[in-house]
């Protein structure tokens, strides 16, 4: 039976728009404007979840993003499902489904609830202690912990929604649209500051919008009436943008803030389609005005967590804003006047208020008097010592507090109730403030941390700045606005404010019970089930730092980051350890303030945009011809071209043979290309490569090896001299961007006197590499008028030519050891060039080959691949490439390091060839090499870097780095594998055509 607790229509609830939704499978009704929490409360549903550790029944505590308990799974079982959502933030819509988390089989009957009775076995640091117990015990606990843990379920299919990112720059960003934020934004915008006002709620106005305390007046109106008029005026203000449903998640240095703008979460499923769901706003503001308000604190007493126990301010908001009575027998428990406002709000709406229990001795404010006149019973100097009701509060027991507040006396009075509003004072929401790097100080009088030292251009106004009374809020806001906006007058100068002065306060961080602390459950962190006794235990066990106590007890480590209970934790530590709260400091508040979806964080960078890739101009041809692709850096390169169901091995063997026997063609467009010009270009190359460049004739090509300053091989490639002061350098595919960066670095910072200009032209050219004994005939068919004789166009030279009307650069260079040409054309002609080559090569069975065959062919020749055969620890000497290191040049990058004592060691790992004794066994790349089999431990001599079955040699070949390998030629070594030991012999790394006769074949 559902009891409807909707009491009176509210202007924020559209009662003509009835909405049905499901919670835990049961259908309920609410109205447009309700949150899931307010709609459930209207249906008298308080029990919404179970706590994390003890599985205690928990209800809705708050009305905002600080909610620790009412954490639900939205739309369970669908691809739009989202775990860990606060019911207080979900706006209901037709068809919404939600379910409780952290309970099994149901929230009403939860097996994990047994933990509650086992709680003496779950003390603070339970998990830590478990880890320290004998390892054999862990298995038993692991099962138990894993079964009972878990916060919601992640979706199992991909997210159908669209997410977006947007950069916004503004002069003034105002975070929080309560009274302070609205007034700040209005005055900033009026003074020609481009202003953005954001608020996490769907309506602006904060809590003042339902502030009807008749004893507080602004210009003779209630704060609510006055603020509504102000909001009305915002419509006519230029320079002001307002974003609601936008919560700031992070505040970084230099006034860079991240906010999530929620665009469709409140819409029905049919209206969500094809719209951006959430947008991550990247905000950069010249000035930030924080108006994030304050969070009401609960009070810490025995069994303070039952469903039906709520914050007093939440009870008031549900009544005033949503028109919902949270209970039919309401009680308030307080240490300040706030609860009286809530009580009066309920009273004025005809909702029954049984009593107010106040730990203070008295208060003479007008509102307290008014409550007395209303006949509501007030228990002064009383405290709640226990509560009852498992799934819903049904009574509280109260006793007289001692004068010092540490014990209770007299007889126990039991009061029956179904809702308890708790008011423990207000904590400024300084989370974003401290995220920005700014520092807090402890205000001894207000017993809260308030902003102190700002690190960026920012101010904190209103209650987040420590001002709680409307008169001090307006006064301080006015001054701060004048200072930060450099203005002389504001709208606030002539406002008249009257307030009801609260005249007593009493702050007790942990309220006593008639039972000893060990027998009570005063929760401090509701989400993580940390109690006051856990904190005291941590202190007894020697923890002193607040950060350590936090981690040991898990206080403040839930998804809510302990927004409600952190101050109590600090207070209890301070009281117990006898130190001042100000000296303890606070724990670090980390972004995000409220959880962000992964979708919002990644935005559009999903699917094929997750990691962008580059394709060559010939890519379509490769796709049409069924190439398999491999990722090389950001490039998608053709890996091999299987035909008739060939395996990779079969395709590569065929391609490799064809390239040596007749003709092969490779798409080499991905090689990095850097255009180098300037009168000092030759000198520059001399300094960056190990070999000499000054004497390279125009029209000639040269292979170069580039080192790091530490002497280790960094990159390699062929550079061609196009003119007196003009070169084109090629780099490895993966190294292109880094090489350009490194060269620029040297040019700008070490050798600014050199006249050299570098331009990346990798994308400007498409390159087809034609190789094999018939490559010359094919090129002749394509460019009949080019003299291809060895005299006119020898190996390592360059020609400019035209293919029809297309200009091309042709380099006669070879990475396979075969006679070959690299033909470069403007990128847009790449596919045409490729097709022409295929056409002309048809009669020679021209075979397209991919990167795998390229790697095999070069391995047959013993040519290294930087990054495969080298790993940042190989010098040219280690690679047996001494021939490329100039002895004559005075200096080049890395030269000095080549004769450091370490780089000159004879026993460094050196590149060698490896041949398996059984020519059919192909070694695994990465396999380890040893010289002894019957020794343990055995010294690892090195590892295999490249390994293939060579179809041209009809045997397996490998390159490896081996300790002192240069002197081990012919030596037998072993490659131990899981099931066998492979016998290998160290060989010269050039396996094929050692005399390079095929280059001119």
């Amino acid at each position: 039976m559902i009891k409807n607790l909707r009491v009176k229509s509210s202007e924020y609830i559209d009662e003509t728009n009835r909405i049905s939704f499901k919670f835990n499978g049961k259908t309920y009704h609410g109205f447009k404007g309700d949150t899931l929490a307010s709609a459930l409360l209207a249906n008298n549903v308080h029990l919404v979840g179970r706590s994390f550790k003890y599985h205690r029944p928990r209800g809705i505590m708050t009305s905002g993003s600080e909610e620790p308990n009412a954490i639900v799974q939205v739309n369970p079982g669908t691809n739009r499902t989202e775990p860990n959502v606060r019911a207080t933030e979900v706006e209901i819509y037709e068809g919404l489904e939600a379910s409780s988390q952290n309970c099994w089989p149901s929230v009403e009957f939860d097996i994990g609830g047994i933990n509650n009775f086992l709680s003496p076995f779950f003390p603070a640091g339970f998990y830590y202690k478990t880890f320290m117990w004998p390892a054999s015990f862990w298995e038993k606990y692991e099962f138990f912990i894993r079964h009972s843990a878990g916060l919601g379920k992640s979706p199992t299919s991909s997210d159908p929604d669209i997410y977006d990112h947007r950069n916004i720059h503004c002069d003034v960003l105002v975070v929080g649209a309560g009274i302070s934020g609205i007034l700040a934004a209005k005055n900033a915008a009026k003074n020609n500051y481009k202003t953005l006002l954001v608020d996490e709620k769907n309506e602006i106005g904060g809590s003042t919008i339902f502030e009807n305390n008749e004893f507080n007046k602004i210009d003779n109106k209630t704060p609510s009436e006055w603020l509504k008029k102000e909001i009305e005026e915002l419509k006519n203000i230029k320079n002001l943008e307002i974003k609601t449903r936008t919560s700031v998640a992070a505040y970084h240095q230099y006034n860079y803030l991240l906010a999530r703008e929620n665009l469709t979460d409140h819409l029905e499923a049919k209206d969500k389609t094809n719209k951006i769901r959430q947008r991550l706003l990247k905000l950069r503001a010249k000035k930030v005005i924080l108006a994030t308000g304050a969070l009401e604190r609960p009070l810490i007493f025995n069994n303070n967590d039952r469903p039906g126990i709520m914050l007093s301010s939440a009870v008031k908001k549900y009544s005033e804003f949503y028109g919902v009575a949270c209970g039919s027998k309401n009680i308030f428990f307080t240490n300040n006047d706030s609860a009286y406002e809530s009580a009066l709000s309920l009273y004025n709406k005809g909702i029954n208020v049984e009593a107010i229990i106040d730990i203070r001795e008295q208060s003479e404010s007008k509102i307290v008097k008014k409550v007395k006149e209303a006949g509501i019973k007030i228990y002064w100097s009383y405290s709640i010592v226990d509560t009852t009701g498992y799934k819903r509060l049904n009574s509280v027991s109260i006793m007289k507090l001692s004068n010092d507040g540490t014990s209770v006396t007299g007889s126990k009075i039991s009061i029956s109730c179904d809702c308890l509003g708790v008011a423990g004072g207000w904590t400024p929401a300084v989370h974003l403030y401290t995220q920005s790097g700014s520092k807090l100080k402890f205000d001894e009088e207000k017993k809260v941390f308030v902003p102190n030292q700002n690190t960026s251009e920012q101010i904190s106004v209103g209650s987040c700045g420590g001002d709680f009374k409307i008169d001090e809020i307006i006064k301080n806001l006015n001054q701060k606005l004048k200072d930060t906006l450099n203005i002389k007058e504001t709208d606030l100068d002539n406002i008249k404010v009257e307030i009801d002065q609260e005249n007593s306060k009493r702050n007790i961080w942990l309220l006593p019970s008639d039972k000893p602390l060990g027998k009570t459950k005063p929760f401090v962190d509701y989400q993580n089930d940390a109690t006051a006794k856990d904190i005291k235990l941590a202190l007894r066990e020697g923890f002193r730092s607040i950060e350590h106590v936090k981690r040991y007890t898990t206080t403040g480590m839930g998804t809510d980051q302990g927004k409600l209970g952190n101050m109590h934790a600090l207070g209890i530590i301070a009281d117990t350890a006898g130190v001042k709260m100000g000296e303890l400091g606070t724990t670090t508040f980390r972004p995000p303030y409220t959880p962000l979806t992964f979708g919002t964080i990644v935005g559009r960078n999903v699917g094929k945009f997750f990691d962008i890739f580059r394709r060559t101009p010939m890519n379509d041809w490769h796709v049409e011809n069924k190439a398999e692709f491999e990722n090389v850096g950001q490039w998608k390169r053709a890996w091999y071209y299987p035909i008739n169901g060939e395996t990779m091995h079969q395709a590569v063997q065929r391609e490799s043979k064809a390239a040596r026997e007749s003709a092969g063609i490779l798409d080499a467009s991905t090689l990095g290309k850097i255009d180098i010009q300037g009168s000092d270009a030759s000198e520059f190359l001399n300094r960056v490569y190990t070999n000499a460049w000054s004497k390279l004739a125009i029209g000639k090509c040269r292979y170069g090896l580039m080192l790091n300053e530490d002497g280790m091989v960094y990159d390699d490639g062929v550079t061609t001299r196009l003119g007196e002061n003009h070169y084109i350098m090629t780099t490895t595919t993966g190294g292109a961007a880094n090489v350009l960066g490194k060269l620029e670095d040297y040019l700008q910072t070490e050798w600014p006197e050199l006249d050299v200009y570098l331009t990346s032209v990798t994308d400007h050219y498409a390159t087809a590499s034609l190789c094999g004994p018939n490559s010359k005939k094919i090129l002749k068919k394509i460019i009949p008028d080019l003299d291809l004789s060895d005299e006119n166009f020898p190996h390592m030279s360059f020609k400019e030519a035209n293919i029809g009307s297309i200009q091309c650069r042709i380099m006669r260079i070879s990475f396979t050891g075969e006679h070959s040409y690299e033909i470069n054309v403007q990128a847009s002609y790449g596919k045409d060039l490729w097709k022409k080559c295929m056409e002309a090569g048809q009669e020679f069975n021209i075979t397209p080959y991919g990167t795998e065959t390229m790697h095999l062919l070069r391995a047959e020749k013993g040519f290294i691949i930087v990054g495969q055969d080298t790993d940042g620890t190989m010098t040219p000497i280690d690679l047996q490439m001494d021939w490329i290191v100039s002895k004559k040049k005075y200096d080049f990058i890395g030269k000095r390091s080549l004769y450091r004592s370490d780089t000159m060691r004879e026993d460094r790992k050196q590149l060698v060839g490896l041949l398996t004794d059984d020519p059919n066994i192909v070694l695994e790349e990465g396999a380890q090499i040893v010289s002894e089999l019957n020794q343990s431990p055995v010294e690892m001599l090195g590892h295999v870097t490249s390994s293939y079955f060579s179809p041209n040699l009809n045997k397996s070949i490998a390159l490896a780095v081996v300790r002192g390998g240069k002197d081990l030629m012919g030596k037998k070594l072993f490659v131990p594998m899981e099931n066998k030991n492979i016998n290998v012999t160290v060989a010269h790394p050039v396996f094929y055509d050692e005399k390079n006769e095929r280059l001119n074949a």
Binding site: H252, Q253, Y254, N255, Y256, R284, G437, T455, E709, D710, G741, E744, D745, Q748, T749, E750, P752, Y890, D891, K895, R896, S897, R900, S901
Partner: protein, 91 residues
Amino acid sequence: MFLINCPYCGERDQQEFKAGGEAHIERPKQPTELSDDEWAEYLFMRKNIKGVQFERWNHAHGCRKWFNMVRDTSNDEIKAIYKMGEKPPAQ
């Protein structure tokens, strides 16, 4: 995320920049004349202090220019930015 005032382009977001380590370490003009220790000093030894630090930065996704920055590593305050070759401002 810093806001970095590139001396060539003006204020830009940190994501356009690349940090390049300690500034004012000049590459020796005559490396061959250095002992192993002297060369190692240039090659390997870098400061990493809490406090005011001189750093090289590159506007990698912008003008590609290198420049120097004085940054307090304890609070990430950028105290000065100046071009390569210029003297650091007095602190």
